[in-house]
């Protein structure tokens, strides 16, 4: 046996590979157990499909927010810890706009302007649901995107632009500072109380839906908006000049510079798209959950990071798939573990995948 061969054998039998193999065995065992439970009737089919549906709903939102994080990761080359608070910014600005529009003549300006900080403007009185107030909710959605983009662009102008030449870790630390400042600025203005902002979601009942007999229309709005935006990002990346430039810059920044790609403009577009999607994701999360709180995005951030890392940093499609995997993992894991440990399952999955495949599922090429 030549030296090269024995080395290759050594590499295949490394502890990491062994661990990865064990992990794969665990997943296979879990899958077999799932089938067994379904066949024996220990787990009702209806319960399982509900887990799956919730997983997809959560996954799409995480994926939507993850696109922006993945873009800033590959184009600006740093892990942006303030991304979660851009999600929060979208949630608060969007719902404030929805309340301003939808609450005319119903509630006082002060309650609407500060999104119920004083406890006024009960969501029931406002009838804040998609069928009763469609215009207010769409205005809120658009405002969420616009305000978040403006906030992200001003932060870039104030802070990140001065640090373009700094290393990834320096930018990461600065983004932690941005995250803290932004989150507690929101808490300062809107108070730190958690409150409900949407009315009970209307249900659409139909026999043709396979997994259940009624669909929550807020969840449906969320799924459709997320899918449409993801399609839009896909078309933009593949078929526009800007998309090509972004992919080129993500792949090789220096090469992009010498081929005359206006990198500052690409950075600008990255913030516009990434922050816009983050803002919309925050707004839609609140539409689904019904409650808003100042650390909403911060607690989502780790799941978003998990999605980006799972998919492979820099890959937009990886971020979407990673989001779905994380969403499904948090919900389907409920088959085996209590609900207060479902995020543990998601983070555990992220760490496990990193051991098995450090570059992520779609990693290897850092191209959008």
């Amino acid at each position: 046996m030549s030296i090269v061969d024995s080395r290759r054998l050594g590499a295949t039998l490394s502890p990491e590979r062994l661990f990865g193999g064990l992990l794969l065995l665990v997943f296979v065992a879990l899958f077999v157990d799932l089938l067994r439970r379904l066949v024996v009737g220990e787990l009702a089919i209806g319960t399982f499909t509900t887990f799956l549906w919730n997983g997809i709903v959560d996954g799409l939102i995480i994926g939507l927010a993850a696109i922006g994080l993945s873009m800033t990761y590959s184009i600006l080359r740093f892990a942006n810890f303030s991304h979660g608070d851009l999600v929060t910014t979208g949630a608060f600005s969007g719902w404030t706009a929805a309340y301003l529009v939808g609450g005319v003549g119903i509630a006082e300006l002060s309650s609407r302007l500060l999104l119920r900080a004083d406890g006024g403007a009960a969501p029931g009185d406002m009838n804040m649901q998609i069928l009763a107030e469609p215009i207010a909710i769409v205005v809120g959605l658009l405002t969420a995107a616009v305000v978040t983009v403006l906030v992200a662009l001003s932060i870039d102008k104030l802070i990140y632009r001065r640090m373009r030449q700094a290393g990834g870790i320096a930018l990461l630390i600065a983004s932690v500072g941005v995250a803290l400042a932004l989150r507690y600025l929101i808490a300062f203005v809107y108070t730190s109380s958690t409150r409900g902002v949407t009315a009970t979601a209307p249900q659409y009942e139909a026999s043709w839906i396979v997994w259940t007999d009624s669909v929550n229309l807020h969840q449906a709005t969320m799924v459709l908006s997320a899918l449409a935006l993801m399609l839009g990002v896909h078309l933009m990346l593949q078929y526009t000049k800007l998309g090509t430039a972004m992919r080129a810059m993500a792949d090789n920044r220096d090469l992009a510079l010498i081929t005359g790609i206006p990198t500052e403009r690409v950075v600008w577009a990255t913030w516009v798209i990434g922050a816009g999607l983050a803002g919309v994701a925050g707004y839609l999360v609140v539409l689904d959950r019904g409650v808003i709180t100042y650390n909403l995005g911060w607690f989502l951030l780790l799941l978003i990071f998990a999605a980006v890392i799972l998919g492979g940093i820099g890959s937009i499609y990886g971020a979407i798939v990673g989001g779905l995997v994380i969403g499904l993992a948090t919900n389907v894991s409920l088959v085996w573990i209590p609900s207060d440990l479902n995020e543990v399952a998601a983070f555990g999955l992220m760490i496990a995948v990193l051991i098995f495949r450090p570059q992520g599922l779609f990693g290897g090429v850092e191209t959008a």
Partner: protein, 447 residues
């Protein structure tokens, strides 16, 4: 010249002036001066605060005790993080998680057997050593996969791990469990009670010589009006200070040992260190475990004094506090870590509540319930009242802004990333007559 350059330049000027004035001292003497200077400055600040509030001597001593306590616990945690990040370049943002492991392991080891949740009822020293060992062990488990990753991936994995730990101890399913016939538990969201670490003070005061000293101290305290409870807490704070000094000595020894040189080599260029035959992987795992054990110790000394702990004490933001302290002091410097701990505890942690108390005492403003009411009132005092009423939020914002400004203007902190002298003689100290040097006679700086 931008404002940032100007301020950065001014800080450098001030630093150079300090260096020139301390020419005759060796580096550790300068460090000692700096640490005591910052400690003294914060004491002066809080004595002034206390006088402004009209506190009694007892109140002022109690305040200084509190500041010292937080300065000490942050210094311990910052020293441990400095070992990871400052010396080895391991970007660990799971500090809160390793603290939690240390505290919870100690809690389970020392909690009474008939308590709720029950523990093992072991003595305190076993608990402390066990807690540190548990934190080191979790560090090992984390290090094995995570150290193969890029720095930013590593950061996120450690943060994820710290959340896994926090959510696990919070979980109702681990509230009480049975291992090999033993009833154990984390207490879930309602927390766990255990033997408090400050119970060493009564134990120390029972020793032959110390008891006489203690009695004398209490007598003096009673004479000048300092309560015995304040003295008891002050004695525990002294124990913490002793830990800081011991840790500083240990880490300084490590930094100047061959092992420490490997750490710095890994920080600067891991590939080069490996190609020179250093076992970088084993070194990184060892140093990671050591740092985690010290983070566990920091957690134990901090939370252990209360004899009760809940998962809420280990939110991820705690990690970033330690990072702010480290960056203020400057990564890569042990003395800087202590300075950072002092500055963080005094200026960012204990200072703002005092500002609120002083404003509350001197201005009779009622805080409006919302910012809308404050703005509509069109009264600067109403706005001030709202700001003071929401000082916690402002304090967090301040931490964020300080972090941003430091990264923009002074990423190396007060004492960061100093060049370490590897040669037997100090080659950087050349005669200052370099007018004919090839570099055009620019003055050599020591940095």
């Amino acid at each position: 010249m931008s404002a940032s350059d100007r301020i950065g330049g001014r800080i450098s000027d001030a630093r150079r002036a300090v260096e020139e004035r301390t020419e005759g001292f060796s580096r550790w003497q300068v460090d000692l001066l700096l640490v005591f200077g910052f400690l003294l400055a914060s004491y002066v600040l809080f004595v002034l605060f206390g006088l402004a509030l009209g506190l009694s001597l007892n109140g002022i001593v109690s305040t200084l005790r509190r500041v010292t306590y937080f300065a000490a616990v942050y210094a311990i945690l910052t020293l441990a993080l400095n070992l990871h990040w400052g010396y080895t370049g391991l970007f660990n943002i799971g500090v809160a998680g390793f603290m939690a492991v240390g505290v919870y392991a100690m809690a389970i080891l020392t909690a009474p057997v008939d308590g709720s949740p029950a523990g093992l009822g072991l003595p305190l020293p076993v608990g402390i050593v066990g807690g540190m060992a548990a934190a080191a062990l979790v560090g090992l488990v984390a290090a094995l996969p995570a150290l193969r990753l890029r720095a930013d991936y590593f950061a996120i994995v450690t943060l994820g791990l710290s959340e896994i730990i926090r959510l696990s101890v919070l979980s109702g399913s681990l509230r009480e469990f049975e291992v090999a016939g033993l009833e154990l538990g984390t207490g879930g969201g309602s927390g766990i009670s255990f033997t408090a670490t400050n119970s060493v003070i009564p134990w120390l005061l029972d020793l032959p010589v110390l008891s006489a000293l203690g009695d004398a101290l209490f007598a003096v305290g009673a004479a000048v009006g300092i309560q015995s409870s304040v003295i008891q807490s002050a004695l525990y704070t002294l124990v913490l200070l002793a830990c800081v000094i011991a840790l500083y000595v240990l880490l300084a020894r490590i930094a100047y040992s061959p092992f420490g040189r490997v750490l710095k080599a890994i920080r600067e260029d891991e590939l080069a260190a490996r190609s020179l035959g250093k076992h970088t992987k084993t070194t990184k795992i060892t140093v990671f475990m050591l740092g985690c054990a010290l983070m566990g110790l920091g957690g134990i000394l901090w939370q252990g004094g209360r004899g009760f702990v809940t998962p809420d004490s280990f939110l991820p933001i705690l990690t970033f506090y330690v990072f702010v302290a480290l960056i203020i002091g400057g990564a890569g410097s042990n003395a800087g870590s202590i300075v950072g701990g002092i500055v963080f505890a005094a200026a960012l942690w204990e200072g703002p509540p005092f500002v609120r108390r002083i404003v509350d005492a001197n201005l009779s403003v009622r805080s409006p319930p919302t910012i809308y009411d404050a703005v509509v009132a069109a009264d600067p005092l109403a706005l001030l009242g709202y700001a003071v009423g929401n000082l916690d939020q402002i304090r967090f914002m301040l931490v964020g802004v300080v972090l941003i400004l430091l990264m923009l203007w002074r990423p190396d902190g007060v004492l960061g990333h100093r060049k370490e002298i590897a040669a037997a003689t100090d080659l950087s100290r050349r005669p200052r007559t370099t007018a004919t040097a090839a570099d055009g006679g620019r003055e050599e700086s020591d940095e």
